[in-house]
Amino acid sequence: MLSLKNYLYISTIIFCLGIFGILFRKKFLYKLISSSLIALSAIINFISFSYFLYPEKVFELTLIIFIIGLIIMQFAIGFFVYSLVKKEGKEIDLKRRDPFLELNLKIANFFRRK
């Protein structure tokens, strides 16, 4: 039978996958889906903790369902924003120059001039 540790390992792996996706994917939609993995791992944590450690607390379990609702709301907003920008016909790629690169370029230009 699976123990609490096993569930925590699974959730940690899913969490790491989510972080990996957020860091290395540049598209908005991919980042959103990767962040869903973090939410999924949080839900696994909640359920496994309440099942193994605190099985008598029913009230907290109802709050967990509320949290799941909150996660769904966040997704709805994410997809709404995605569709809003898509309608405008804009590029939904999060790649862009860092604003502080401008500063570095300025400093480089200053020394070049000298």
Binding site: F15, Q74, F100
Partner: protein
């Protein structure tokens, strides 16, 4: 579970006014904007009065969900003030979209309820209401929005929300409850969870306060978003996030190890330096103010960490943490509204390079000059203004604590003080210098016209004059009376 509704009367008033405005929008045509805005301001004033009337009534509202205390009363005032200044800013900038009044009222309600919550879930829900509303504010300027900055803001907001939920799952695992009043007892057995929780908390803090690696969370959005977006973020979203971190750090003792506190402190000091240097190179006024405000929030956080974890402060300086937040809110909102009034009446178009645009501002608008000057020197922290007391006592106590690390922190803060002095001093210098010929200043809007423009200008002018007067009075009285913070804290 019994609920005493009389304890949350101010919140109920704001909520009912929100419903009233919503009904008005649904069943009426939306041309009566003036009426709507004055009604909203009246509702906020009534709420401030009611908060003051019921300030002595404290206790738990509903079992394990909301509790009213002295500190929560203080934050109620704070968020009501920010709501009032947001409504005044709507009147100043003549926003033609009535839905935004509903948005502001509901954000005041959720920010006020944020401090009352004694439960992780209600904390999360109210924070999320503020954050989700902040997703809609930049879209009001639909054609000018910087889509990339906006998308980045939304996606990192969503990611940080999920990280908060992930953190809460760990807290639930350690405590077995969502209540904020439960202590973590068996830390040894869950030490790995504890360390992971600290790392996640730091990551959330970095994203939500847009600190160094995530500095593109808020400032680039402020650049195109303009006046209202920057004001909303600076005086409502950022303090709400700061409040949540304060609550979690205070209740769960996440930074009990001194080593981690010093790492966070070092990181915060670097961030302050980074943002202040970044502010020097900004040409857009709102982005510049965004940088400056993030640095200010970091400074307040440094003060809080020194009290909470290094135990250097005494109780009167702990009160100063709250007062510094109040000073930050007053000076920021006053300065922003003042600059917007300047733009509307003296510049033909939007801000370009603000250092050029503000040249000769003192001659063009003598009425505006004095309050703007006071607000600017208060941002620097020159003796005689309220911000000076906070910065001076913070640096003094850190130096007094001794040790190499504290000394390094104080040197960092002094360097930052000089940088802030430079970039705000530059604005003051340009204000009092002559008008440049190639800058177009509206010749039609003479000084007398400002008073003829009607109620909206009189209200906004009165607001910034009151803001600057409060800062001056606090600053001068604080030098005379050393126990002044205790006296001020007793008012709440």
């Amino acid at each position: 579970m019994s609920i005493d509704f009389s304890l949350i009367i101010p919140e109920l008033l704001i909520l009912s006014s929100f419903l009233f405005v919503l009904l008005l929008l649904i069943f009426n045509n939306v041309t009566k904007l003036k009426w709507l805005s004055y009604f909203c301001i009246l509702a906020v004033i009534a709420t401030i009065t009611l908060t003051f009337v019921f300030k002595d009534r404290m206790g738990i509202v509903s079992d394990n969900f909301l509790e009213v205390s002295k500190i929560s009363n203080f934050f109620r005032y704070l968020f009501l003030f920010s709501g009032a200044s947001l409504l005044i800013s709507l009147i100043v900038s003549k926003v033609e979209k009535p839905g935004i009044y509903v948005l502001i009222l509901i954000s005041i309600f959720s920010a006020m309820s944020l401090e009352l919550s004694s439960n992780l879930l209600s904390l999360l829900v109210f924070l999320e209401i503020v954050t989700v509303l902040s997703y809609f504010i930049p879209t009001l300027k639909f054609e000018k929005i910087d889509w990339l900055a906006y998308l980045r803001y939304v996606i990192f907001g969503i990611i940080s929300t999920f990280l908060i939920i992930y953190l809460f799952s760990f807290i639930y695992g350690m405590t077995g409850s969502f209540s904020l009043n439960v202590e973590i007892t068996n830390i040894e057995s869950v030490s790995l969870l504890f360390i992971i929780a600290i790392i996640i908390l730091m990551a959330i803090m970095i994203i939500r306060l847009s600190l160094f690696p995530f500095h593109y969370w808020f400032p680039p959005l402020a650049k195109e978003g303009g006046f209202l977006t920057t004001l909303f973020f600076s005086i409502l979203v950022m303090p709400a996030n700061l409040l949540v971190f304060k609550e979690i750090l205070e209740k769960y003792n996440f930074l009990d190890f001194k080593f981690t506190v010093y790492i966070v402190l070092f990181f915060l000091c670097l961030t302050i330096l980074f943002f202040n240097i970044g502010a020097i190179y900004q040409k857009n006024i709102w982005k510049f103010l965004a940088f400056s405000n993030v640095a200010n929030i970091c400074l307040i956080l440094v003060g809080f960490l020194y009290y909470q974890y290094l135990r250097i402060y005494n109780m009167s300086v702990y009160n100063m943490f709250f007062i510094s937040l109040l000073i930050y809110m007053i000076s920021t909102s006053g300065l922003m509204i003042g600059l917007e009034i300047y733009r509307i009446f003296k510049l033909k178009n939007n801000w370009g390079n603000f250092l050029e645009d503000i040249k000769g501002g003192a001659r063009a608008t003598p009425i505006l000059t004095l309050p703007l000057f006071v607000l600017l020197i208060s941002q620097i922290g020159i003796p005689g203004t309220a911000n000076f007391l906070f910065k001076y006592s913070l640096i003094k106590t850190i130096i007094g604590a001794g040790g190499y690390i504290n000394l390094t922190v104080s040197i960092f803060l002094i360097i930052n003080y000089l940088i802030i002095f430079y970039y705000y001093g530059r604005i003051i210098f340009n204000m009092f210098s002559g008008i440049k010929k190639d800058i177009t200043v509206n010749s039609e809007n003479k000084e007398i016209d400002i008073l003829k423009k009607g109620l909206r200008l009189t209200i906004s002018l009165a607001f910034i004059i009151i803001c600057s007067a409060i800062l001056l009075i606090l600053g001068i009285y604080g030098i005379i009376n050393t126990k002044f913070y205790e006296i001020l804290m007793n008012l709440f």
